[in-house]
């Protein structure tokens, strides 16, 4: 299980670094927003993995709340891209 934990954290960490590269470099604004969206989904996976690895039960709540808030945030960013207000 210790080896599996190292492999999981390594794979997810490399994925997050690649996302951060796209967020930092991305030539256009939508590129950065795609990176932010995908980083949010990755954090959900990482939180649930750390719920297993550390044995603390409350961490899965972070995953659930992060999934909800990441969705709302991405929709707000997309609305902002279209040049509309939040109530349209």
């Amino acid at each position: 299980m210790a080896v599996v934990a190292k492999i999981l954290v390594g794979l997810l960490g490399v994925s997050a670094v690649l996302c951060l590269y796209r967020i930092g470099r991305g030539p256009t604004t939508p590129d950065r927003m795609v990176g932010i969206d995908i980083l949010g989904i990755l954090v959900v996976g990482f939180a649930s993995v750390s719920c297993i690895l550390t044995g603390r039960d409350f961490v899965i709540n972070i995953a659930l709340a992060w999934a909800l808030l990441s969705f709302v945030g991405t929709l707000a960013l997309a609305k902002h891209l279209e040049g509309k207000g939040f109530d349209e």
Binding site: L64, T74, L77
Partner: protein, 117 residues
């Protein structure tokens, strides 16, 4: 038995996440990056959450993981569609190798009249 299945699900899910993020870096324009990233990373995270539901210590954690899986499966395509629509309205150009652009009105008329390319 259930443990080994869960570990395999976790590892495959993390590998899918990595593949999606490599696509996010390597592909040429926003729309390609969006589809690679969203599909691969959603599948990978759903597999990780399924593994978590099998391997969790308490039943409540399993239920929360399943809820999170369903929610990710529902909302991720919606968010990706909204982002792609926003990017197209902003006027981000397509990659020069793109074959069809159904959003563009003149290309829609052209494709109705005669087959485009």
């Amino acid at each position: 038995m259930s443990n080994s299945v869960a570990v395999v699900l976790l590892l495959v899910g993390a590998a899918f996440d990595l593949a999606g993020c490599i696509g996010l870096v390597r592909l040429p324009d926003v729309y390609n990056r969006l589809q690679a990233g969203t599909k691969c990373v959603t599948l990978g995270t759903c597999l990780i959450l399924a593994g978590t539901a099998l391997l969790a210590h308490c039943p409540a954690c399993s239920v929360k993981a399943v809820l999170c899986l369903l929610f990710a499966l529902l909302t991720s395509p919606t968010a990706a569609h909204a982002l792609a629509r926003g990017a197209r309205i902003t006027g981000v150009p397509l990659w020069e190798g793109s074959v069809v652009d159904q959003w563009e009105p003149e290309s829609r008329e052209a494709s109705e009249g005669e087959p485009r390319r």
